[in-house]
């Protein structure tokens, strides 16, 4: 008997040893090579019960759901074995090779580690993924609540079997970054009817409903906290936070009618079989969710108008060469994903002389679960009013990419526009000076051309020419000359005797001239008279002797005193005598002409000598 116990003990010990040696803690992935944005599952399994499970840090991955814990216990031939599995649904964000570190768990007093898992992430096409998801959703939407989910009998705690979750894809976002909000109904009970009680206000967000193409909600099965639920997406919204800080998403509240088995019939077999039930109304509220909205980082570039997401921009112009007063269309197309509807109109710089109108905005935006996607078209109508070459500068557009956390500036194309002269009438009416001056004047014509006028070569103007200055100086110079002459003249004529002397010849010449006149008139008496007077007057002036004192002797002595030679003096005296005589009696031996010449020569001779 004792031996029997011993063997049993041995067996027991050995089994326990066997047990201890046999505990495995493994990590496995549903795929070792995944594409980005593809979901895959990582499961940590232990074939024993364990506690204090520490998951590894899933660097490089986003945890979509998890840990989903499942336990199983099976007894085979009296051998009870249990296992536990922690599974995570992960999504790869970036391509590369990542290592999921070891997870740890305590079991049987020991710490167990899993081996690291290597996951290779390749670049995947998001559309495929979306299509697959859409297809799956479509497939599921065909069904009603999945019958595989055991319909729990509504019991003590309705909140555990029927609740609404406000599910957001991100809870930590930048200002303006889009969030997809899904209100999910989780149920494990049969719902007979429902009506909305209070829809959320979604204050603090710009909200866009995602339209469900089907009227009925899509039901699918989801494991939540280790329990499978029938899940329906009740309402999907795309939210754009409008201010920074923590924004509370209001709870949604709905009224549900739940069919509950009647309590009284708990023991009643019939009741259980035939389903005696009560319809009970419940008000279900979702838990409030808080979104942390971060402000956009500093360093906003030029042309940033609050666009957050991922965009592209293109500009176009319908005509490059037009006439003045003809319209042209300038369009800016912004397409991409993000807060397209919240975009502020861009401010393209048009030539200041263009008449411009407010842009027409055209949206082709679809709200999908992946966010608001589409394009927005701004078309500007421009009318150039004057000819010339103009340029439309490139528009500056920049947006904030929340995925990279950086601002992106997009270049656009600038345009050159050639505006030709428009029709003249239009040109005038556009900015006519009608209000500028009197209308009366418009009917007047310009003055007619000048048909005569001077034409001079450039630089031949009279002003500033040498001639001009010469003539200007001429007048004063002339006056100066006159002054000098006057001065000289005065000084010259101040001595009476000298003047008389100087003028003697002239006066004599005068007498002689009149004598000559008498000669031609054959007036012999008057001729001799003139010659005599001329000679006498001349000598009187020349020798400065008064006419009364003048006689032959005085003339002779005076002339001698002036050292005139004797012959000349005698000749002069003879001539004087002859003239004196001829005044009263005719003379012979000498003609009147000879007499005249003699007198003239005499005066000339004296004039030369004195």
């Amino acid at each position: 008997m004792k031996r029997k116990y011993c063997i049993l003990l041995l067996f027991l010990l050995s089994t326990s040893l066997l047990f201890a040696a046999d505990i495995h803690f493994t990590a496995s992935a549903s795929k070792t090579e995944v594409s980005t944005t593809e979901q895959f599952e990582v499961t940590f399994t232990i074939n024993n019960s364990g506690d204090r499970f520490t998951p590894p840090s899933f660097t490089g991955f986003l945890v979509v759901s998890g840990p989903n814990v499942s336990t199983s216990m099976e007894v085979i031939n009296g051998n009870a074995s249990s296992s536990m599995a922690y599974s995570y649904v992960l999504v790869a964000v970036k391509e590369g090779t990542y290592t999921i570190g070891p997870a740890t768990i305590f079991s049987g007093g020991r710490q167990l580690n899993t081996k690291p898992l290597k996951i290779k992430v390749v670049k995947g096409s998001a559309s495929q993924q979306n299509n697959a998801a859409a297809a799956a959703a479509a497939a599921q939407s065909q069904n009603g609540p999945d019958s595989r989910v055991t319909m729990k009998r509504p019991g003590t705690d309705i909140n555990k079997s029927l609740f609404i979750r406000a599910d957001v894809d991100k809870s930590n976002v930048y200002l303006g970054e889009q969030i997809t909000l899904t209100y999910k109904l989780y149920t494990r009970v049969a719902i007979v009817g429902s009506e909305p009680d209070k829809l959320p206000d979604l204050n603090g967000f710009f909200s866009q409903d995602i339209k469900n193409p089907n009227q009925s909600p899509n039901w699918h099965v989801e494991t939540y906290k280790g329990v499978k639920f029938n899940v329906a997406d009740m309402k999907k919204n795309i939210l754009f936070p409008e201010h920074t800080g923590n924004i509370n998403i209001d709870p949604i509240s709905m009224l549900f009618v739940i069919r509950e088995a009647a309590k009284a019939s708990d023991d009643d077999m019939f009741g259980q079989f035939f389903g005696t039930y009560n319809d009970v109304k419940y008000k279900i509220k979702s838990a409030p969710t808080i979104i942390h909205v971060k402000p956009l980082p500093p360093g906003k570039p030029d042309g940033f108008g609050g666009a957050v997401g991922k965009f592209s921009i293109s500009t176009s112009l319908d005509k490059k060469e037009i006439k003045a007063n003809e319209p042209i269309n300038y369009t800016i197309k912004i397409s991409g994903t993000g807060n397209l509807k919240l975009l502020k109109p861009l401010s393209p710089v048009f030539p200041a002389d263009f008449e411009k109108y407010d842009p027409k905005t055209e949206d082709t935006i679809a709200e999908k679960e992946s966010g608001e996607t589409g394009s927005r078209l701004y078309s500007y109508l421009l009318i150039p009013r004057h000819e010339g070459n103009f340029t439309i500068d490139p528009v500056k557009f920049s947006y904030f990419n929340p995925a990279t956390g950086k601002y992106v500036s997009l270049p656009t194309q600038g345009f050159k526009i050639k505006v030709n002269k428009g029709t003249l009438e239009n040109n005038v009416t556009a900015f006519s000076g009608a209000d500028k001056q009197d209308v009366k004047l418009l009917n007047k014509d310009i003055r007619y051309i000048k048909t005569n006028g001077d034409i001079t070569k450039n630089g031949e103007g009279f002003y500033d020419s040498d001639l001009y200055y010469g003539l200007l100086a001429f007048g004063p110079l002339l006056f100066l000359g006159a002054l000098i002459y006057g001065k000289w003249y005065e000084r010259h004529n101040s001595d009476v005797v000298e003047v008389k002397k100087r003028k003697a010849g002239k006066i004599a010449a005068k007498h002689l001239a009149s004598a000559q006149a008498q000669l031609t008139a054959k007036n012999s008496k008057a001729f001799y008279e003139n010659v005599f007077r001329g000679l006498y007057g001349y000598l009187s002036d020349k020798l400065n002797i008064a006419a009364a004192d003048l006689n032959r002797e005085k003339i002779a002595s005076e002339l001698k005193a002036r050292s005139l030679d004797g012959g000349l003096i005698n000749e002069l005296l003879d001539t004087l005598d002859l003239c004196d005589m001829a005044r009263y009696a005719p003379v012979s031996g000498i003609s009147e002409q000879q007499m005249f010449d003699k007198a003239k020569n005499m005066i000339n001779d004296i004039e030369d000598k004195i």
Partner: protein
Amino acid sequence: MLLLIISPLLAFSDDATVALFKKGNAEYAKAQYPTAIVSYQKLVDGGYRSVAVYFNLGNAYYKNGDIPSALLYYEKAHKLSPGDEDIRINIQLANLKTTDKLEATPEFFITKWWHGFILACSLGTLAVLSVLLILAGSGVLILYRFTSSVTIKKVSFYSAIALVFLGLVCIFIAGRQADYFDSHHEAIVFSGSVTIKSEPALKSKDLFVLHDGTKVDILEHSNDWVKIRLSNGNEGWISATDVREI
């Protein structure tokens, strides 16, 4: 002597020039404005500057619809003969057809009078006038010096003083006028539409937009840029290719 003074002013340089001028006039009379422009332009390009040629060329451009060119030549004619009323009227009419409406800053009335005074006669007229006055004054002064009659002496003295004074005034005004035009460079905007910049660089700020035909004062040149001032006092820089100096 009078002939000597006046002859350069009346001189038609040669017969060909006169013929070209007459041809332009005939073409203008027949409303063949483009050919008239060609004829007058030949004269201008040949270096001839005259009020009549500039004025007629301006008229031909006006009739042909080219207002900026019309204004350019009207202003050139106006510069040669500031007192000419025909030119003034035509400038007014041509200005009606320009786009920019500019409220001129009111001039101080004494400045206005002064400008009206010094610009009343053309420079050539003033020059001839001053020469004649000075010559006459000198002549009368000489008469004063040599006359013996007391009455003539008195009259000639005072008239000589007056003549010489008037002559000096003419010289002064001519000098002022020449100075005014020397320091007063104006230009006409020739581009249909041009943006005036704050600095002589394309990247600088846009100040305002001018259209063809607007008259601006030129203040300064800098490379290919010209600093201008509008009659309303605004200043800015314009590309030298957009304006033509009067």
